[in-house]
């Protein structure tokens, strides 16, 4: 049968079936099981009202259970068994194998990089756009253009960037620009000073974050929560300090490294740095999302706080960083979380651009390869469980916030 006709029939059956289910089950409840007439009418109405919510919610619950919650358990089971040995229980052998696979650690390293760089850059750019486009008349057009990549598929976006990265300078813009650098003053400015400034800025932000996390240890009044939150703070503070030191060390590298001027570059294959060229795709797409959410938050700031700050003589930068940012801090965290979930899920970019070659795999690609290329369901499911574990702090945070 033609799939289009099949689709139409299924849509009709699907919608009709759903509506029919909801209507008929409601009727059954009211007319047959607990008739709302006769001597027990009052009691019956109460009983029907106790059951009805479950009728409404059952299909959704069923779907969620089968496609989301059951698979978590099933993946857990698969990760503890060996498919080739007739689903025999093998304990943690799959995890052992996973942890001894250098490809897995490569994926973990890349994913960590993605988790640091992509949400940070998207949020920063999104904030910048949200603030700047608010100041100008054609801001709406600018916003539409920044937002547009959100409509394109990851695959399409990857193809767009593959053209940008093409090895021939006559096709690839990046190589065309690269060929302009010859080691003179301009090269020094753009390839040494500019990256150094970005790294120093990142180090500054990381230091500030470190300070925010560690402050309660020095100021007794700000101490909240128990020993667990103190431990989490210490870990997060240490991580931020590590990132700051790392960034500072890289500043030295930026000035000492010899750059291959005048040679066309295959950007996707340069070890380690190719990760950043892949991240650029995601940043290009997701900045629009960050911008839209942050822009709404900026507009939601009470005008009085801004006005009184101006009257008190706040300069634009002070106004932005000391009045506006603290008020939308909650939204920034939300954006960060949404982007992090996106990073952990995204599979298409690496798959399209490098097919996980040249050490670019991230966890989503690693597990796809294990599950569907190597058909190793044990180790694949183990990496799925690792992915779930990575997401679980976010799930916990979401749930806590919803309550």
């Amino acid at each position: 049968m033609n799939p289009v006709i099949q689709a139409l029939i299924i849509i009709l059956i699907g919608i009709g079936g759903c509506l029919g289910y909801f209507y008929l089950s409601s009727q059954l409840l009211d007319k047959v099981l607990f008739p709302q007439r006769g001597e027990n009418a009052g009691r019956n109405i109460n009983r029907a009202n106790m059951i009805r919510p479950w009728l409404f919610i059952f299909p959704a619950l069923f779907v969620l259970g089968v496609y989301l919650f059951y698979p978590v358990l099933e993946s857990l089971r698969l990760s503890l068994t060996d498919r080739d040995a007739g689903d025999a229980f093998v304990g943690l052998a799959n995890y052992q194998q996973l942890f001894s696979d250098p490809k897995f650690w490569e994926a973990m390293r890349n994913n960590t990089l993605w988790l640091i760089v992509v949400p940070a850059t998207c949020t920063a750019f999104g904030l910048l756009f949200a603030q700047l486009t608010d100041l100008i008349a054609w801001g709406n057009i600018a916003r539409t253009i920044i937002f547009m990549p959100m409509a394109i598929s990851w695959v399409g976006a990857s193809v767009v960037f593959m053209l940008l990265y093409d090895i021939r300078p006559v096709t690839g813009v990046l190589n065309a620009v690269w060929m302009q650098f010859e080691g003179g003053v301009g090269s020094f400015l753009f390839l040494r000073i500019f990256p150094a400034i970005i790294l120093l800025g990142f180090a500054a932000v990381a230091t500030y974050v470190c300070y925010l996390f560690l402050r309660p240890f020095f100021i007794p009044e700000e101490r909240k929560g128990g020993i667990i939150s103190a431990a989490l703070r210490a870990v997060a503070g240490a991580a931020a300090a590590y990132l700051a030191v790392l960034a500072l060390l890289n500043v030295i590298d930026v000035f000492t490294i010899t750059l291959p001027y005048g040679k066309t570059q295959a950007w996707k294959t340069i070890p380690f740095w190719n990760n950043f060229f892949l991240m650029a795709v995601m940043i290009w797409v997701q900045t629009g999302l960050a911008m839209v959410i942050l822009s709404a938050a900026l507009r939601g700031i009470p005008q009085e706080t801004v006005e009184s700050a101006i009257i008190d003589g706040a300069k634009p930068f002070q106004l932005f960083f000391r009045i506006k940012i603290p008020q939308i801090f909650g939204t920034i965290v939300v954006v960060w979380i949404i982007l992090s979930v996106g990073v952990l899920r995204v599979f298409d970019i690496v798959y399209t651009m490098t097919f996980s070659n040249w050490n670019t795999a991230i966890l989503a690609n690693y597990l796809y390869r294990k599950l569907f290329n190597d058909f190793d369901w044990g180790v694949g499911s183990a990496s799925v469980i690792i992915l779930v574990l990575l997401v679980s702090p976010i799930i916990y945070w979401n749930v806590n916030k919803a309550r």
């Binding site: 479950w54 989301l68 756009f129 990851w154 093409d166 939300v334 916030k401 919803a402």
Partner: protein, 385 residues
């Protein structure tokens, strides 16, 4: 004093304008490159950057006179071959030319180049040439001519035609396009009713366990859908669905369910309580309240969600790959079709860019017409439950 402040503030305005313009340009360049390339021929793409395609450009080309063995005309002792170097009807103009790579810009159009021993060639600006020589000289290959040409912008729809309609192209995208719509439309419509009923129950009905269910939905928001690939596929194979459209529709519906319920519940919870209580006093039951009051009032939220879900399912790769695409190649979807082109057509940007753009037309059209709903939905999804 006022003047200085004014200059300063107008300067600041210009800084903002220029910064935004630069950033917008950076954001636009990648897409623009693909878009322009999709309207150029392979030769053009190899000859000059797409960023020059919008202007008249100067480029160097190597052309060849017609084969003398077939086309020479006797004229007494000498022979001549004449014609146009570009073939027929080109809008290019030759500015400089020469008969060898060392003297590629030795002559201007109209001059006669002496090739020695009485052999000569002359080339006009429009590409017309006359090549003279004796029997020996005018044999073998046609004379090569090195030219510098001014080429006006030139665009073609050939790539799109080839991608969509050409019979010789086995990777035609028409089928993939239809398949993608067949995946995306039901996957968008089916979950609406299910999630809306559940959202109503969670927003407006009191029952034991409601709080727990809301927690479950919120928890489901962040669970990566990679978790369900193998267990669900196993289930499909066990119950005999295998790789099929219904399988992929249900999978898509399930993966978006938590988000849909979350979005709809938040929206429905904002409906004024009096409306619903009045309806209850008038004797309406929950089914009627939902169908006649809550559902119509929730249309904006449903519209926003529909746009997001359609774009998501249309652009999806992984779900389609796992639950639909089999070895027959009949069930290919657009994203997969593009990935399969990347191998055989690597670096052939005329074809790749047209293919990529064909896959983007529908989402871009949806985006440009429904941008407001799209943004609103994303916004609502980010707000506290």
């Amino acid at each position: 004093m006022d003047g200085i402040v004014e200059i300063k503030s107008s300067l600041k305005k210009w800084v903002v304008h220029i910064t935004v313009a630069l950033l917008v340009a950076v954001w636009l360049v990648p897409t623009l490159g693909l878009f322009v390339s999709s309207f150029r021929t392979t030769d053009q793409i190899k000859a000059s950057g797409w960023w020059t395609a919008l202007f008249t450009t100067e480029q160097k080309e190597v052309l060849r006179a017609a084969d003398p063995d077939d086309f020479r005309v006797a004229d007494g002792d000498v022979f001549t071959v004449s014609g146009n170097l570009f073939g027929e009807g080109s809008s290019k103009k030759i500015t400089l030319w020469g008969p060898s790579s060392l003297a590629s810009d030795a002559y201007v159009p109209g001059e006669v180049a002496d090739l020695g021993d009485g052999e000569s060639i002359t080339v006009q600006a429009n590409g017309d040439y006359v090549w003279r020589g004796n029997d020996d000289q005018l044999s073998g290959h046609g004379q090569r001519v090195f030219v510098t040409v001014r080429a006006p912008p030139e665009f073609t729809l050939e790539n799109y035609h080839w991608m969509l309609f050409d019979k010789q192209n086995s990777q035609r995208m028409t089928k993939a396009f239809l398949n993608t719509l067949t995946v995306a439309i039901p996957s968008t419509i089916i979950p609406i009713v299910i999630s809306a009923f559940a959202a109503y129950a969670l927003a407006w009905m009191n029952f034991r366990g409601r709080a727990l269910l809301i927690v479950a939905v919120v928890a489901g928001l962040a669970v990566p859908y990679q978790v369900s690939l193998v267990p669900t596929l196993k289930l499909y194979v066990d119950i005999g669905i295998g790789k099929s459209y219904p399988g992929v529709w249900l999978a898509h519906s399930a993966f978006c369910m938590a988000f849909a319920i979350f979005l709809f519940r938040n929206y429905m919870a904002g409906i004024p309580r009096e409306i619903i209580e009045n309806a209850k006093l008038d004797g309406a039951n929950d089914f009627q309240i939902f169908i006649w009051i809550v559902l119509p009032l929730s249309i904006p939220a449903i519209a926003s969600w529909t746009v997001i879900q359609f774009l998501w399912t249309y652009n999806d790769l992984l779900t389609g790959k796992v639950f639909l695409i089999d070895n027959t190649g009949d069930n290919i979807i657009l994203t997969e079709a593009i990935i399969r082109m990347l191998g055989p057509y690597a670096g052939q940007w005329a074809i790749l860019s047209a293919g990529a753009f064909i896959s983007m037309v529908v989402p871009l059209a949806v985006f440009l017409t429904m941008q407001r709903y799209f943004a609103r939905g994303l916004l609502a999804g980010s707000i506290k439950g």
